[in-house]
Every structure is written in structure tokens, then in C-alpha cells.
Amino acid sequence: MFDLFLHFLANTGYYLADYRHYVMIVVGSTFLYLGTAKKYEPLLLVPIGFGILVGNIPFFKGFGIGIYESNSVLHYLYFGVTTGVYPSIVFLGLGAMTDFSSLLAQPKLMLLGAAAQMGIYFTLLGALFFGFAPREAASIAIIGGADGPTSIFLTAKLAPHLIGPIAIAAYSYMALIPVIQPPIMLLLTTKKERLIKMPPARTVSRKELLIFPVAGVLLCCFLAPTALPLLGMLFLGNFLKECGVVNRLANTAQSAIIDTATIFLGFTVGCSTQADVFLTPKSLGIFFLGAVAFSIATASGVIFAKIMNLFIKEKINPLLGAAGVSAVPGSAREVHLMGLKEDPTNFLLMHGMACNSSGVIGSAICAGILWSFFV
């Protein structure tokens, strides 16, 4: 009986744990704290944080428990991540929730979304410089798009063994927007520039809102067909919302469907950070390069807005460049708050959302382009 008891003890998490598990449990708890107490992107950080806790409970391998064991429940749930199903579903919901009217009213702001994607390509060079393989480098670079589902989608296609660290890096930096972006914005702009007021946007007709998803999917997916799983779903979701005849579908896409996908995506990505797989020097490199990518993306948008101001009559507030990354709506909110700090009557939120939505399209196109380089 005592032998049986000892045998049982030898199979408990307490016995099997080593310091790496405790490190990851601290990381998971930090995510939960940031999401719950600080309200930093709670919809992402809470499921991911809890997933990290679950994924780092030590277990006896071979029982079909862990996410990397082919017959486990978690493994089946993780299937949606490794095949890119969850990111596509998230994009469907995102499209159904996004109002593109601010972008349609000011199409020139789309260029800021394009400029912010430069962070991706600088980081691609950086990752190659540090010795990552090309497919890994491309997956790391997409963190610069500041779009969690897009990062997961591309990594699943190019470097599935890095999904954990890349997803955690992408979502961490999205949650840390209030910490990362403001210093870069302050550094690259003068007070006078931050005070620039944007003109009120014109009213956009329903017909324009209906034509945009159709034109968008045709133009973007003819250019980068590999972006189809993301952009196809994004524009489908948006068309469901705008056409007004399938409100039931649009409502489901923007609530139940995206919520379900977010829960499973966040939770399984969190679970995938098993200490033995996650805590490697490579992961540290990915975190470092991810921070670089995000910072360069923010800086590229701001600098490009300043360059545009040299050529156009109606000046753009360069803070909006920082919203060119596709972290919706975090970066637009941050730009808005910084604008308000300088001038309480300067409302930049809707203009920031225009840049944000073009950033979503831009980063999905980038993912398609990078994937196509290796097809």
C-alpha cells in the first residue's frame, strides 16, 4: 500500500515540477493580474494567462494529457491553432465588428497603415541577422504587425514549433501598447505636431460601405491570394454587417463566434507554453525581436505621417501613424489619449480607427506575402 502511495506521489505535479514550471506559472499569473487588475487587453490576457497555468502543470507523459500529445483533448483543441482555423474565425468576427466608415471618409490614412508594416520587414532582416532560419524569421517578423491572430496564422504555416513564444510575444506587446507606444510617439513628434487637429470626417453612404468589402477582398486577395483565409473572412464579416439583411448572422459573428474562437485560441496558445518547449534561448530572442518589430512599426507610421505632411496641404497629426499597427482598438485609443493630453478638445479616436483598420488589412496582406515567399 505504501508503494502504491509512493507511486502516486511520483506522478503528482509537485514531484515532477522543476524551476521552469514555476517560472511559467509566475508568467501566467502575471498575465492574469495584468488582464484582471490592470485591464490590459483582458479578453486576450485572461484566457492566455489561464492557459499558461494549465499548460505548465507537470504531468506524467504518455497519458494523453499534454497539448503536444497526439491523442489528448488539448491537442484536438489546439488543432484550430495549428491549422489556422481560429485566426480565420476571429477575423470573421473582427470584420463583423469593424466600422470602415472612418477609413472610407479619409482614404489617405490608409497609407499610415501601410507604413506601419515596415516594422515587419525590418524585423525580418533583424531575425535573419541573428541567425534564425528564413521561415522562423518571417514568423517572428509578423509580430511587428501587432496582430495576434495574423501572427498565429503565419507561424502555424511557416514555423509551427514557434507558435507558443510568437503568440505570447504578439499578445503581450498588444497588451503593453500603453507602455511601449507613448514614449516612441513623444520622441518622434513635437508639441506643435501633436496639437494638429484633424478635420471632421465626411458622412459615408451605405452604398460605399457595401462596395468596400467587395472591392477590398477582390483587390487584396488578387494581390496576395495567400491572405485569403484572413482577408476573405474579414471582408465577409464586414459585408454581413453592412448589407443589413443578415443581421442574425452578423450578430452571431460579432459575439458568439468570435468569443468562442477567442477563448479556445487564447487558452490553447497559453497551454502551448509548456516550460520545456517555451523556456529556450530562442524564445528570449523572439521576445527581443518582437519588441523591436513593434517599436519600429510604431516609429515607421509616425515618421511616414511626418513625411506626408511635407507634401500635403491639410496636415495629418503624426500621432496617428502609431495607430497604423493593427492592434485594434488599443493603439487608436492610445493615440486618442495622447492627443487629448496635449489638447482636451482634440479628438483623434475615429481617425486612429481608420489607421487601425488599414493596419489590420496591411498586416494580413504582409502575412500572405511572407507565406507566398516560401510556398
Binding site: A114, Q117, V204, F212, A215, A224, G362
Partner: protein, 145 residues
């Protein structure tokens, strides 16, 4: 392998340059297209006005035919004769009437070329528009006639 050599060996420079160019040009094209959507829609909404404008510009040939002395002289009586012929018809109508009503009565009375006749009466200011889509008979002109 690390450093610049790794970038060069894996075609990194080309990937970065081509990728950045494609995404930039793609979004520039998309922004151009969406900046034109409302203009195209406005054109589409105003298509009838545009067509009318084209029609108004094109017709000199038709107008010439209608106004041509050969046509009017050969097939239509003079304005005075027309006024005399149409006065009894107008008297059957109310003070203000629609041209379609006059046309209908003229047709029923087998008047020749009712369209052209009514048009000539209009041109001669015998039929005067009231501005609300109806017409009246100009009595002063009638006296002259």
C-alpha cells in the same frame, strides 16, 4: 550562420524590399479605389441628369427639323390659324390645363399634327406656362391673333 551573410544567403534583402513594395502599392491602390467610390456613386446617382444634358446638347438637328420653314410651312397652318383652330378646344378645358389634356382633345378632334401645333402655340406665347406644370391661354395674344 549569422549576420549580414545570413541575410544575403537567404535572399533577405530581396524579400524585405519586394514585400514592403507589394504591401505598400497594394494599400495605395486600395486607398485610391476607395477614394473614388463616392465619386462613382455620385455619377451613377446623377446619371439621368447627365443623360438629359447630353440629350439637350445633341438635339440641334431635331430642333432644326421641327423649326425648319419647309416643315412648318408645308404641313402646318400659320400661328393665327392654329390659334383660331385651337381656341374652341381650349374653351372646353378649365382656365389652367395640362398640355396632355389639350393634346388629348386635339387628337379626339382629328387635328393634324397636334404635337407640332401645340409646340408652335407655345413658342408664339399663346400657350403660357404657369410654372406648376399647367398652361393658360394668353388672351392678349389671342386678341392680336
Amino acid at each position: 550562420m549569422i549576420g549580414i551573410e545570413n541575410i544575403t544567403n537567404h535572399n533577405g534583402w530581396a524579400m524585405a524590399a519586394v514585400g514592403a513594395t507589394i504591401v505598400f502599392s497594394g494599400l495605395v491602390v486600395l486607398s485610391f479605389v476607395i477614394s473614388q467610390i463616392h465619386k462613382l456613386l455620385k455619377l451613377w446617382d446623377d446619371r439621368e441628369k447627365l443623360l438629359e444634358r447630353f440629350k439637350k446638347k445633341a438635339p440641334p438637328a431635331v430642333a432644326e427639323k421641327v423649326d425648319s420653314p419647309v416643315y412648318s410651312e408645308r404641313h402646318l397652318p400659320s400661328v393665327d390659324e392654329l390659334a383660331r383652330a385651337y381656341k374652341p378646344l381650349v374653351d372646353q378645358l378649365e382656365e389652367s390645363f395640362k398640355l396632355s389634356q389639350l393634346f388629348e382633345i386635339a387628337n379626339n378632334n382629328d387635328m393634324p399634327h397636334p404635337h407640332l401645333s401645340i409646340q408652335r402655340l407655345q413658342e408664339a406665347d399663346i400657350l403660357v406656362a404657369r410654372g406648376d406644370g399647367t398652361f393658360t391661354w394668353n388672351k392678349q395674344k389671342e386678341i392680336k391673333a
